[in-house]
Symmetry: C2
Subunit: 147 residues, 2 copies
């Protein structure tokens, strides 16, 4: 099976399959006489595994750990669970960050007339935050988009 078929069968683009091979996430594929990569059904299986892990938001680095456990018949499920728990903690953190942003912004949007006049609480807030009970240190570095 060449890379195009493997791509269609797994849902992973040919580009990414080559990239995963290059970075060592997956082993080097066998080659046909003419240099084409040649995949077995088990390879497609592995690619689908990767695809699903990506769909759950796992970073490639984490997937590397998952793949090693997947292949290890004597793994302990606690190891898998640990990776998953670390990942879900990250997800929750990112969700909280985004929700904080969204709720702040929503308040501002609700306050904005959205008409032809120039007065705009959104710009006003960006210019000078209203909420400063004590103008000391900046309190929300973790509010950055992707920390």
């Amino acid at each position: 099976m060449n890379i195009g078929e493997a791509s269609r069968a797994s849902g992973v683009s040919a580009k990414m399959i080559r990239y995963y091979e290059q970075t060592g996430l997956i082993p080097k594929a066998d080659r046909t006489g003419s240099g084409y990569r040649d995949y077995a059904p088990s390879d497609v299986h592995m690619l689908r595994f990767i695809r699903r892990a990506r769909d759950l938001g796992f970073a490639v680095r984490e997937i590397d750990g998952l793949l090693n456990l997947w292949r290890d018949r004597s793994r302990q499920s606690s190891d898998v669970k640990r990776i998953a728990q670390a990942h879900i903690a990250q997800l929750r953190e990112r969700i909280a960050t985004l929700q904080q942003m969204a709720s702040t912004l929503e308040v501002l949007i609700d306050c904005c007339a959205g008409d032809q006049r120039p007065d705009c609480p959104i710009l006003a807030e960006l210019e000078e935050p209203a909420d400063r009970p004590s103008p000391s240190l900046p309190i929300a570095p973790q509010l950055r988009r992707r920390p």
Copy 2:
């Protein structure tokens, strides 16, 4: 005021100030005789504006639009609101994506014993998704991590 002072006063790193200048988000800074960038308080004001917009998750491209409106005394608040609404829609979409991931993963984690045995529903799910009522087209390309 040199770039270091402007950085400390605005909360934007010197690196990023140069980057914003290079990409055209902010105008080229004045230079002292020796080539140092020289900032006025109004520049710091603008940098703080940018910083806060970043804290709300606006992309630099969106901030460019906001800055133009900010400087435009005859702006219409509806234009600002439109940008903000488009942005919050993006935020909500990303939140929904992450929440979908998190809830799927949470179910799996709850099902995983997390002990020394190898059996693991998390790996099982990645290997072959249980939930396939109709194995037709893949339905969640928007589930990718950052679409």
